[in-house]
């Protein structure tokens, strides 16, 4: 294991040197995005106030914003968010560990790969989210049925990417290490694993969006609390501002997690960014 952590320390070290040029261009990069988002919100506000003008169909951003504030003040928002966050975090963590492990197993053993490949490919392509009602029947309406949905959605992209990353390790790099008399184990830790890290991270990134969708949809099918619950009960009460509040909170969570991940990638695998 010490070799593994060595490898990681080295990877992190690699990230310390960032290119100065990107720092200069950031404000301009953000400018177009900020203008576009603000413009979109403005358009939305205008359309919902003057064109649709019916709170049953569309809520204006200003109304959504006050709904979020009200929910936050009453503590409701926090209650729903924390439940969803726990479900997501548990499912995501379990799926990441399992996914990387299964990916390793498939890359290491051809038999393992042949045995698991149909399941992985099949379940990756299946909208397993449709099984959420079944999981709720099995595990009840508590958090574990949602955790299971998240696991199903996140596991397979991570597995597929881990396996692909290990499998596509450059033959020339392996040969270089072999010329020094390296053992298969050394080749794995010094070449295959580090060169699979960008792939693994890409799989984990893909899992964020899928996992968030999983949490919410599973909660819609049956739950006591969570952002999906909030959205469902707002819809039942035709409370559009609160419905949108739930959606917006989710969107912000997704954006922040993905952005955080991008930042992590820049630090961990800077050599893939050229």
């Amino acid at each position: 294991m010490s070799q593994l952590s060595d490898g990681q320390a080295e990877v992190v070290q690699g990230g310390v040197q960032s290119r100065p040029a990107s720092g200069m261009r950031l404000p301009r990069l953000y400018l177009a995005g900020v203008v576009s988002v603000l413009g979109g919100l403005l358009l939305w506000e205008v359309v919902s106030r003057f064109l649709v003008a019916n709170a049953l169909f569309l809520a204006a951003p200003s109304q959504i914003f006050s709904a979020i504030l009200a929910l936050a003040k009453s503590g409701e928002l926090w209650r729903h968010m924390s439940i969803s966050a726990i479900e997501f975090a548990l499912g995501y963590a379990i799926a990441s560990v399992l996914g990387v492990m299964i990916g390793f197993a498939m890359a290491e053993s051809a038999t393992m790969k042949r045995a698991l490949q149909p399941w992985v490919s099949g379940l990756y392509a299946t909208p397993t989210i449709a099984l959420a009602p079944l999981f709720i029947l099995w595990l009840g309406i508590g958090i574990w049925s949602k955790v299971l949905v998240v696991i199903f959605l996140v596991l397979f992209p991570v597995t597929i990417n881990t396996e692909a990353g290990l499998r596509t390790t450059s033959e020339r790099l392996i040969e270089m290490l072999r010329s020094f008399g390296a053992s298969p184990r050394q080749i794995f830790f010094k070449v295959s694993l580090p060169s699979a890290v960008p792939f693994i991270l890409a799989g984990l990134k893909l899992g964020i969006g899928r996992g968030l969708i999983g949490v919410v949809v599973a909660e819609l099918f049956g739950s006591r609390a969570g952002l999906g619950r909030l959205i469902a009960q707002s819809a039942d009460a035709f409370n559009m501002p609160e419905l949108f509040a739930g959606v917006i909170v989710l969107a912000v969570a997704g954006i922040m997690l993905t952005a955080g991940f991008g930042w992590l990638e820049n630090r961990l695998v800077p050599w893939t960014k050229d």
């Binding site: 080295e10 040197q17 020339r172 790099l173 290490l177 010329s179 020094f180 050394q186 800077p270 050599w271």
Partner: protein, 258 residues
Amino acid sequence: MARKLQVSHLGKTFGELRALQDINLAVERGEFIALVGPSGCGKTTFLRIVAGLEPASSGEVTLDGRAVRSPGADRGFVFQSDNLLPWRTVFANAIIGREVAGHVGPAERQRTMELLKLVGLEGFEHYHPRQLSGGMRQRVNLARALAIDPQILLMDEPFSSLDAQTREIMQTELMRIWETGRKTVLFVTHQIDEAVFLADRVFVFARRPGRLRENVAIELPRPRALAIKRTAEFVRYVDHIWRLIEDDVRASVIEEKV
């Protein structure tokens, strides 16, 4: 001088293809040997067999009297493409052979630092490969092979991706480095002038099947300056070797076009 490398009746086939046939040669300790020949005559295959990366189909390769079967720390391979690990610094790349051997102490670090200095990379130890030029990357490639202090250096067209000027500089640098340690070197190249400039002897290979055609001793005084390339004697060697492989090269070029 002691015999370093002995190759007897070496043959290699890939399925139907006879890549190498009945190669017999001997290399003395400290000799600089260049290998030239048309594309596809088996130079890389020969080097890989000596490195232990590829098994021979017949015959034998012995290093210091011991048969070669697998890669080992007594041989350092300098690859055509630098094969640097992009996530490692120059220093971490250069020391990887020592790491594989399982002992990286202060002495090994010290030696690796000295080697990086020797190949002209002092001050670049903490750079990453993507921050280096092609010439600098090949210097790391060379330092990495030297870092294990091998008995014999195997170099497969190490300068072929470099521009003409960088290439000439690398040739003189390699000569300077070689003079400091006098390691046994097998150096594959397509540039005949590079072979003549660097080598004590040039092994000329022929193709279909790949075999050793002639062994040309280069009796030019050392140390050699780049200016030697313009002397009549130098040009005579180049002409002689070129005539040996000319027909073969024509044949291989025509074949590759088809």
